[in-house]
Structures are given as structure tokens and as C-alpha cells.
Assembly symmetry: C2
Homo-oligomer: 230 residues x 2
DNA sequence: CCAAAAGTGTTCAACATACACCCATGA
DNA sequence: TCATGGGTGTATGTTGAACACTTTTGG
């Protein structure tokens, strides 16, 4: 039993998962934060513990579902954070995930002892532990990722207009794209299907709705555009 | 002590680190593998356990140093792997790092019960656990990273020639770049300093040595080129 | 003098950028 | 009819890709 002995000599560690949940309300890019209970007045990412039966991704998805009711959302591993003192009480390794959700689908399933709120990424409160580092990294990753892969749509409803999409990209990159170039670039991917229906109520003229061509979406995950603010 | 109780209810897990160590011998891109002891005949990545005093990155660097004698090498976190059955004996979370080393600096410090060998990334043996997944991901990351950031130099000696650098990129992307375009592209970054000295012995004419302009190197980590095989 | 690798320039196509006007509609 | 946002085209510059010949020098 030499092999087992080798394992038994090792220290085990607590393993947490924390998620940076991005949402878009039509105007600005937000992340969902929770404030924990009464003794803790600090805003924090949504998180939880790894259970013995789960993979890391399963655990992140479960925690997201338990706290928000959202399932089948975009979820991607961001980074493992393991500074010895990141959690001052007990040493904990945290694997951070970032997630893109459609805000309209969100309904809080948080129990009464939690509060949850959307915060603009440009106006965040002080955060627990190293959560601010996680958020910084997540924003960088989102910017990189959205430039290369068609993931922006994960933040919009099934049907959306080009102006809505442009506003989303404006928010992600904190800039203002040229609407003519933007529209040409996006449509040149052939990833969008134009619908008959127009958006009502927002503008006089109304903008055409589009939806993602899901048959092309899978392949396109690998080659996309190159949006960088100009 | 409500808070501490909350921690105490949680399961702890073993935490390992595994490193994909890339090296370049002038012809092909290799990774360093070890075969463990006598009972285990499977090739494996270099790995070890997280110690209580270490951060994840410190642990990865220590393990690398202990096994190879290399310090101050390029090291970047790749991904955390946590499938419940990835290690069939004891559940272990592994955080994988990838590393770029100068092969000439490498000297094995492996104890007698280990063997180590460089393998071409295009001709790998079967690997332990999920190490093959780690390697696949590391190669993808290296390709992405080397296209955007000036990290290729980490795999070459201090002084190197443009043809050597081209061979490296050929190996990374498993293609053949046009030497005229390659040289123009690389030199246009202004990241290389041309030396007086020429390489002797390899070709009749001899190629000029270059070295990285370290003053510009730091900044350039953020904006670089865009190499994709054509 | 010849073989082998090093070094260099031009042309063309594709793409990114900058920029301005007309359209449709509800009030 | 007018105010508001939606929709489209063109000209220009930059960048990437394709491609071939001359140079150097050791044998």
C-alpha cells in the first residue's frame, strides 16, 4: 500500500467555486453580487462548495441554479485562486467561473438571509476576499472572448435587434462603435437570421429582430471576428 | 461560531499541480514527461502536491525546480481539472500549469526512481489520468498565446537567429511560414535587437544573432502580432 | 565554382476605418 | 411635420499574402 500512503501524507484543502455572472440590461453591463447574511456586510460573488460527487463545472452550474434559477447558461472556467491567505479563516482554493446570462430569465431563488443585486461593472462596491481580482480577470476574459467568439448573444434575449447588439458591445468595451461598420461586420458572419418582425415601442421606426442561426453557431465558436475598440 | 461550523461541514480535497513543460530543440516542439517508479509504467506530466504554505503558482514553480533545476521560467496557469474520477484512487483536484523552458538550461534533478524524457508533441505516448486532455489544452493555449504575445522567445536561447525563430513558429503551428513575411512581421515589432555576431557552423553564410529588447518586452506582453498559419 | 542557407522588395487583395445622408413612424 | 432612432454605401489607407532572385561563404 505504498501508493495509498503517498496520498495519505498530503494535506487536503477546502474547495470553493465562485461565479462572475454577467448580465446586460440594455444599457450597461452588470454583474450579480450577493450580500451574505447579517454578520457579513460585504458584497461577494456567488459561490459555494464542491460536493464529493460533482465535477468543478457541475458544481458551478448547480450553485448558479440554486441561487438564481438559471440553467443551461454559458459557463466557462476562469482561473483557480489559491493564495494561502485569500480566505483568512480557513485556507480555501477557489475555482472561479464566469457566466453569461439573459437578465430577463433571472429570478432570484436566494433565501431570505441573502440579498442579491446587479451592479454596473464600472461601479462596483468593495468585494469579499480576492473577488475583485476575479472580477477584473473576468472582464478581461470577456473582452477577449467576445472579440473572437460569438458569445455576446448569450447576454441578449432570443430575439434582438442590431442596435441592441451594438449597445452590448459598446458596454463590454466601454466605447462606441460606428453603427455602419458594426452592422456590416456582424452581418458578414452570416450567423444572424433576420426576422420579419420589428421591435415596437422603443423607436418610432422600429428595428428588425434577428436571431442566432444555431446550426452555424456551434462551428462558429472557433472562428469569429476581431472586435477591438478603435 | 456559526461561521467556522459552516467551513467544518465541508469536504476537503487533495490538491495537485501538474505542469506541461514545453521545450524546443531547434527542430520540433517537445514536452517533458516522466515515468514514475517501478509499479507505474505510464508516462505522466510532472506534478506534485500543494503544500500548506504555498500559493498555487509557488507550488508549480517549486515542483518544476525540484524536478528540473529550472527557476525563473515562464509559467502560466492553464486550467483546473476536477472530474470526480480523474484519479481513480483518491479524489484529487489538479491545477495544470504550462511552462516554457530553454532546453539548454535543463538538467534533470530527478531521483533515480524517475525517468524523464522529451517527447515531440506530435508523437506522445499514452498518458496517466487526464493528462492527455491537459496537453491538448496546453497546445491550444500555446498557439493562441504565441500569436498574441511575445512568448516564443522563452523557448529559445538568449541569442537566436531569425531562421531559428521561424523554425520554432513552424513547429508550434505545425506549418511553414513564408520566411520573407515572417521576418518582416517579427522585425516590425521592434522587439529584437540585431547583434554584430553571426551564427557559425550551421550554414555557410551564417545568420545574424538577435536578442530580445527587454526594455520593450514587458509592455509588449499586451499587444503583439497575429500569427495564424496561412 | 558550387551547394546551401540567408537575406531582401513588390504587387495585389482583403479588410478596417472614417464618414453622411435618407427612411420610417408615432406623436 | 418633425423629432427620433434605423438603416445603408463609398472612398481611402493599412495590413496580410503570394511570390523569386541575389548574396555569402565553406568545402
Amino acid at each position: 500500500m505504498l501508493v495509498l500512503d503517498q496520498y495519505k501524507q498530503q494535506h487536503p484543502y477546502l474547495l470553493a467555486l465562485d461565479s462572475i455572472i454577467f448580465g446586460f440590461d440594455g444599457e450597461s453591463l452588470k454583474i450579480l453580487l450577493v450580500k451574505r447574511g447579517t454578520e457579513n456586510t460585504t458584497w461577494s460573488l456567488m459561490g459555494g462548495w464542491l460536493q464529493p460527487s460533482e465535477s468543478l463545472e457541475e458544481a458551478a452550474a448547480r450553485i448558479l441554479f440554486d441561487l438564481t434559477g438559471l440553467a443551461n447558461v454559458y459557463l466557462e472556467q476562469l482561473h483557480a485562486f489559491g493564495d494561502p491567505h485569500r480566505d483568512p479563516i480557513v485556507r480555501t482554493i477557489s475555482v472561479a467561473y464566469f457566466s453569461l446570462v439573459k437578465v430577463a430569465d433571472y429570478e432570484s431563488k436566494l433565501s431570505g438571509t441573502f440579498q442579491a443585486r446587479w451592479f454596473s461593472i464600472y461601479d462596483l462596491p468593495p468585494l469579499l476576499f480576492d473577488h475583485a481580482d476575479m472580477v477584473d480577470l473576468a472582464i478581461k476574459r470577456l473582452r477577449y472572448k467576445a472579440a473572437q467568439h460569438p458569445i455576446g448573444f448569450e447576454l441578449l434575449p432570443e430575439k434582438f435587434t442590431i442596435p441592441q447588439l451594438k449597445k452590448l458591445y459598446d458596454a463590454i468595451y466601454n466605447t462606441e462603435f460606428d453603427k455602419r461598420n458594426f452592422s456590416r461586420k456582424i452581418l458578414s458572419t452570416n450567423l444572424l437570421i433576420k426576422l420579419e418582425e420589428k421591435q415596437k415601442g422603443f423607436s418610432r421606426k422600429g428595428a428588425y429582430y434577428y436571431q442566432v442561426d444555431k446550426s452555424k453557431y456551434q462551428q462558429a465558436t472557433d472562428s469569429f471576428l476581431n472586435f477591438i475598440p478603435s
